[in-house]
């Protein structure tokens, strides 16, 4: 800071000296005020920066947590069984497929098979398998197949998720009574009128399955794959049974294994039993 005396005139009186002193004091105060203002602005800027730094750190931490969670879930999913192509999980909660309803534990029977604890014993099928001994060539082989099918013939009607309309009333009643010949004839008649109906296909496939016509049943079941999610689990099971009937043992085994690998599949335990029996 310059000395104010240099600004005084040669013959400066006391008034001028005091005025000069006051001017220098005022300038000094203005300089301090200006500096404090400048620092206050800088302080505000630092505060804002600190705020955004904290936000940035929180976001990075959040991203890391999300990444870790994603990685964890991803790694969990890869250990789970791979989904079967063209198959969807059922929408409607499945009930006990093919398990006899006339058993005393009514409450337990209404529980879906998938919810039966592993320690519970799987009930035997409600119905026996169709007789394959009369229509196949090798009697011994057919007897063995029949014995196997009797242990795993978990079939049920009405079909899960299928609502047969009034046009199927007669076939529906026949299937409920397990009069498959009558049902087949009725379905044949309906098919001649409307061959492209999926409900008709499914009913006819089921009917053929119960009549031990594996290949024919598959011809009706196969086009239905992946078309109706709610039918899918039962359709898979029936296809696997049809494959056994059609002497496609290896293909059937693959499908049974796929079903058994799905923890929520309503036929998982039946499939596990079947895989066990087929592997013997």
């Amino acid at each position: 800071m310059e000395d104010y005396k240099q600004y005084l005139s040669n013959n400066a009186d006391e008034d001028e000296r005091r005025a000069a002193a006051q001017v220098m004091e005022g300038l000094s105060e203005l300089r301090l005020e200006s500096k404090v203002r400048e620092v206050a602005i800088e302080r505000q800027a630092l505060r804002r920066r600190g705020f955004w730094q904290r936000i940035f750190v929180y976001l990075v931490a959040l991203a890391l947590v999300a990444g870790a969670a994603y990685w964890f879930l991803e790694s969990k999913q890869t250990t789970a069984p791979l989904p079967i192509p063209q198959q969807q999980q059922p929408i409607a909660p499945p009930t006990d497929p093919g398990v006899p309803t006339e058993k005393p534990q009514d409450k337990k029977e209404s529980t879906p098979i998938a919810q039966i604890s592993p320690s519970e014993r799987l009930p035997n099928p409600r119905y026996t398998a169709p007789d394959v001994t009369m229509i196949r060539g090798d009697e011994e082989t057919n007897k063995a197949l029949k014995a196997l099918l009797d242990q795993i013939w978990y079939t049920d009607y009405p079909l899960k998720g299928l609502k047969a309309g009034t046009s199927f009333q007669q076939a529906d009643e026949s299937l409920k009574k397990r009069d498959f010949t009558a049902a087949y004839l009725e379905l044949e008649r309906l098919e001649s009128q409307n061959a492209q109906n999926d409900t008709l296909r499914y009913l006819k496939g089921y009917c053929l399955l119960e009549m031990a016509e594996g290949n024919e049943a598959l011809a009706y079941f196969d086009p239905l794959q992946g078309r109706h999610a709610v039918w899918e689990p039962q359709l898979q099971w029936y296809r696997a049974l049809a494959m056994l009937l059609a002497d496609k043992r290896m293909e059937a085994l693959v499908l049974f294994k796929q079903i058994a690998a799905q923890p929520k599949h309503p036929y998982r335990r039946q499939a596990e039993r079947t895989v066990g029996l087929l592997s013997k």
């Binding site: 800071m1 310059e2 104010y4 240099q6 600004y7 005084l8 005139s9 008034d15 001028e16 005091r18 005025a19 000069a20 006051q22 001017v23 004091e25 005022g26 300038l27 000094s28 105060e29 203005l30 300089r31 301090l32 005020e33 200006s34 500096k35 404090v36 203002r37 400048e38 620092v39 206050a40 800088e42 302080r43 630092l46 920066r49 600190g50 730094q53 940035f56």
Partner: protein
């Protein structure tokens, strides 16, 4: 590289390795030194504001006013470094400033007779300085350009003549011409102040 710089937590005190270097920084009016001492004193400012029942957003005002007084005391030599942390002294000033602000607030609600204790020498000194500053600001306004700018750049903003010439902030292209003009303007300013004192019988 800039993002790394941005992410580095700001600590203005980093460059001062002790109280003495901090004091030297304050004496030179260095911005980091002032920020450092303010950072140390800010929690106390918030505490005083709360203690004395001042509005919560007045902590910054308390800190700024106190810093102004503190810097003035360093400049006029009232505060000398004796080994203590400069922030301790600033906190003491803040306490007084906060108390003064409380009294000022109360004064507006109560009669003046109850407030003889307002005559604090520090308060009077502060108001005298402010009055001088206000007068000089007014006189500078009266003088107008180029005198106002020439005086402001050197005496208030603290720029050197070389910097002012280099940046071309005035019409003067050499430091000598700038100095001559400033001297001329300062003489005028003193004469205005003298005239004002005579007119107002001060």
């Amino acid at each position: 590289m800039r993002i790394v710089e941005w992410l580095t937590p700001s600590n203005p005190c980093r460059q001062f390795d002790g109280n003495e270097s901090l004091f030297q920084g304050l004496k030179n009016m260095s911005t980091p030194a002032i920020l450092c001492v303010q950072n140390k004193a800010m929690p106390s400012a918030r505490k005083f504001v709360q203690q004395y029942g001042l509005p919560p957003d007045s902590a910054d005002e308390v800190l700024n006013q106190s810093t102004l007084i503190f810097l003035r005391k360093i400049e006029d030599g009232t505060y000398q470094f004796q080994g203590h942390a400069p922030s301790t002294y600033l906190v003491e000033i803040m306490r007084r400033v906060a108390l003064m602000m409380t009294r000022t607030n109360r004064k507006s609600h109560e009669s003046l007779e109850n407030h003889h204790d307002l005559h604090d020498p520090n308060v009077e000194d502060d108001s005298r300085q402010r009055e001088s500053a206000d007068l000089v600001r007014q006189f500078l306004g009266q003088m107008g350009e180029p005198c106002e700018g020439v005086i402001r750049l050197y005496h208030i903003d603290g720029y050197s003549d070389e910097e002012v010439v280099r940046q071309g902030w005035t019409r003067y292209t050499t430091t000598d011409s700038l100095k001559i003009k400033r001297s001329d303007c300062m003489k005028k300013l003193i004469q205005i102040a003298r005239q004002w004192k005579i007119t107002n019988n001060i």
